[in-house]
């Protein structure tokens, strides 16, 4: 619990002499900064650091399991696409960043599949409505947050399907 001292002295009174000559309070303040410095320096090489900096490329923030990062298309256990190109995700997308070109499988009993499935990631607002809208559970959002690039990326089907970098959780 932090104790808060009143900023102005009581009515009709002056500050106590110890505060009016500043020095005592200055030394108290310097003691506080020294305490922080020593504590931070002592714990810096150990596991439980007291500095709050997350040294980004080396360390990353702990994300919540519900974090909505880059999209990922899922496959059935047999390796076929889960997506049936129903376009519900594209329909629900508030920023209209999903483009789907459906195509039919040669075998009519297998229905449709997306010939092209593209997400314009520069327009995506990561709201997760596509995931909620999908009746097949074919699209999900990963924890990947590092999507910086030097071009305006449109993530195509192959990229969204690639499991390589980010395994399903």
């Amino acid at each position: 619990m932090i104790k808060i001292k009143p900023v102005s002295p009581p009515e009709g009174k002056r500050y106590p002499i110890s505060e009016r000559i500043y020095l005592v309070e200055i030394f108290k303040g310097m003691g506080l900064t020294l305490k922080h410095l020593v504590r931070n320096l002592v714990t810096y090489p150990t596991k439980n650091r007291t500095v709050v900096t997350i040294q980004y490329p080396d360390e990353t923030r702990e994300y919540s399991p519900r974090f909505r990062g880059r999209h990922r298309l899922k496959k059935n256990p047999d390796g076929s696409l889960r997506c049936v190109a129903c376009k519900l995700c594209a329909e629900n997308c508030p920023s209209h960043c999903i483009f789907i070109e459906p195509a039919a499988y040669p075998d009519p009993s297998m229905g449709n599949y997306p010939k092209r499935y593209e997400i314009n990631i520069t327009r995506c607002i990561f709201c997760g409505f596509c995931v909620e809208a999908c009746p097949k559970g074919a699209i999900e959002m990963t924890e990947v947050s590092e999507m910086a690039g030097s071009t305006r990326a449109v993530f195509d089907k192959d990229f969204l399907l690639a499991d390589g970098e980010e395994p399903a959780r």
């Binding site: 200055i26 410095l37 931070n40 810096y44 709050v52």
Partner: protein, 361 residues
Amino acid sequence: MWIDYLVWTVQNLLFPVVVPVVLLTGVILAVWIERRGAGFIQDRVGPNRVTLFGFRNAGLMQPIADALKLLVKEEFIPEKADRFLFFLAPTLSMIPALLTFMVIPFGDVLVLGKYRIPLQVADLNVGLLFIFAISSLGVYGIVLGGWSADNKYSILGGLRSSAQMISYEISMGLAIIGILIVFESVRLNDIVRMQGDLLFGFLPRWGIVVQPLGFLLFFVAALAETNRIPFDLPEAEAEIVAGYHLEYSSFKFSMFFMAEYVNMMVASGFIVSLFLGGWQIPWLPTEALVAHVGPILTAVLQVAAFAVKLWFIMWVFVWVRWTLPRFRYDQLMGLGWRVMLPLALANIFVTSVVPFVLGVY
């Protein structure tokens, strides 16, 4: 004899070159201490990324990287600036900073056979006065820098700086009088040597022991003279952007920047020499050291002792900076004229009267 020439070279050519180079190199260490110290005081890490040959070296190379960046940046000169003074100002703040360190002794006189090498660039018999005379010139760099840039914030910074430095120089000078009364010399090496004596047989007769109030006043005045927080009103970035060096860029800015840190080192060296026993190692006078470890090692140890004390004071500067907020301008003037000046006068009075009352003289 060739050894005569060698000693002459060391005294007259080597020291005047090595000492400024060491000072300018010290800026790197000072900036590093400042930024990493600030980081750890504020519960963060501070710059630790810049590598040298692939090694992180805890961010020590960051000031060098910054300096190189400043060197290759565009040099901008305002259209209506007074170009001559605009060029002159950074030099005027740098040169006095380097000059004043020349009279600060960083070791006792090194006696090698018949040769006596004073470990300071110039062993002036008016060292203390020389420092005051030259360091007062430093204000010209700031005032002219602020005035010549033709910018309202710059000139505000310059004017603030002149008023502040003149006000605090008085307290600074008066705080020193006590030291002069006690040690009866203005030659810095003599002052330092006398601080090796012992009081009551165990307490080193350092300036801080015989003049505690003088030390406090001098330290506060030194903070004000070097434009450090809590007295950094000339560059108060929250009010007048960057004050006197607002329009400066590239190498001229880095000269102002380096001058600030060199000034800090000079102030630290000065404080150490006057109040913390300079190169004295407590309880180990030069004669005893020479008798036991020889003259060369003695000099090395004394220079090391001086460096440790100097960097401790530098650290206190940093420590104070990241603890205290900036003064308001009327508070600054009130402290300077209504508190520091009477206290300094009282200090002189007590220092001069007490020995008579106690019958020391």
